[in-house]
Symmetry: C2
Subunit: 168 residues, 2 copies
C-alpha cells in the first residue's frame, strides 16, 4: 500500500477496507504495530510527525531494502496460502437434523450474503476499471466468485424446495 502511495496507517486502513478486505482484512491493531516493526527492520521509514497542516499524520515510505523485500515476496513461487472459514458451510454440513424448511432458510441466508457482497463490488467496478491492472483483475475475480457462490446456492435452494414439494 505504501508503494501505491498510501502512506499513513489511517490511509492504509481506508484503502484496505475498500479493496483487499474481501480476501485479506486488516485492523488498526495490526497495522500500527506492523508499521513500527517494519521500520525497526529498515524496510520502511517514517517521516517525522507532520502537524503543519493542522492534522497530525505520520507518513511512511519504502526504503530500497523494503522495495527489494516486497519484490522478493511478490515473485516468491512458494505455495501461496489459501484459507477459507465459512460458518454457513459448517452449518450445512451438520444440517441433517434440521427440517427441510430450516435447511432452505439457511441456504437462502448464505446466498443473500454473497449477493450483498456482489452488489457492493459492482458499485465499485467503474472506479476500479479505470485503475486497471492488478486491482481491477482482483475485483473482477471477486465479483465472479461471489456471483458464482450465489447462483450455486440458488440452485441448491431450488433442489431442496423440489424435494420438499415432492414429499408433501
Amino acid at each position: 500500500m505504501i508503494r501505491r502511495g498510501k502512506r499513513t496507517g489511517y490511509e492504509i486502513k481506508q484503502l484496505v477496507d475498500v479493496s483487499v478486505r474481501f480476501f485479506w482484512a486488516a485492523s488498526y491493531g495490526q497495522i500500527y504495530p506492523e508499521l513500527r516493526r517494519l521500520e525497526e527492520q529498515g524496510l520502511i521509514e517514517g517521516e517525522p510527525t507532520e502537524a503543519a497542516d493542522g492534522r497530525q499524520r505520520r507518513p511512511y515510505r519504502l526504503t530500497p531494502a523494503g522495495e527489494e523485500a516486497l519484490d522478493r515476496w511478490l515473485l516468491s513461487p512458494a505455495q501461496t496460502g489459501f484459507e477459507l472459514r465459512d460458518e454457513g458451510m459448517l452449518k450445512l454440513f451438520f444440517s441433517d437434523g434440521m427440517s427441510p424448511e430450516e435447511r432452505v432458510a439457511l441456504v437462502a441466508r448464505m446466498r443473500t450474503r454473497h449477493e450483498e457482497v456482489s452488489t457492493h463490488l459492482r458499485s465499485i467496478e467503474p472506479v476500479a476499471r479505470e485503475t486497471g491492472g492488478g486491482p481491477y483483475a482482483t475485483l473482477r475475480y471477486g465479483l465472479a466468485f461471489h456471483d458464482f457462490c450465489a447462483s450455486w446456492l440458488a440452485g441448491l435452494e431450488t433442489e431442496l424446495e423440489e424435494e420438499l414439494a415432492g414429499r408433501s
Copy 2:
C-alpha cells in the same frame, strides 16, 4: 462431530481432515482443550479412559444441554461468518510491478492449487454420495467452487497471454 458418532479427540481430527477442513480446519491444539472446556460447561461428557481394548482412548458424548446448544447454533439466524485469506489474490492485487510473464506464472500457480483441491475432492465424491445429506451438499459445493476458481483463473491466464502476444 460427536453427534455424528465420532467421539474421541483423535477421531474428530481424522474426520475434520477429510471433510470440513476445506472451509473449517482444526488442529489438536484446538480440539483437546475445547473438549475439556465443553465438558466444564456441561455440554459433553467424557467417559472414563478406556484401556480395555489395549488402546487408551477417551470417548465423549453429548449431554441433553449439549444437544440443545448445538441445535440453537444450527438454527441461529445470526449473520454467519465468512472469511477468506488468499495470499495469491494479494499478490495479484499488487502485481503491477511484475513483468507480464511473472504475472501469468502467478495466476497459473493459483489455478493449479484449485485444480489439486478439486481432484482430491473428486476422489472422495463416491464415498460422500452414499452419505448424502449435508456432507454431500458441502462436498458438491466445494467441488463446484474450486472448479469455478480454476476455470476463471485459466481465463485470466489466456487474457494475459494474449496481451503478451499482442505486444511482442
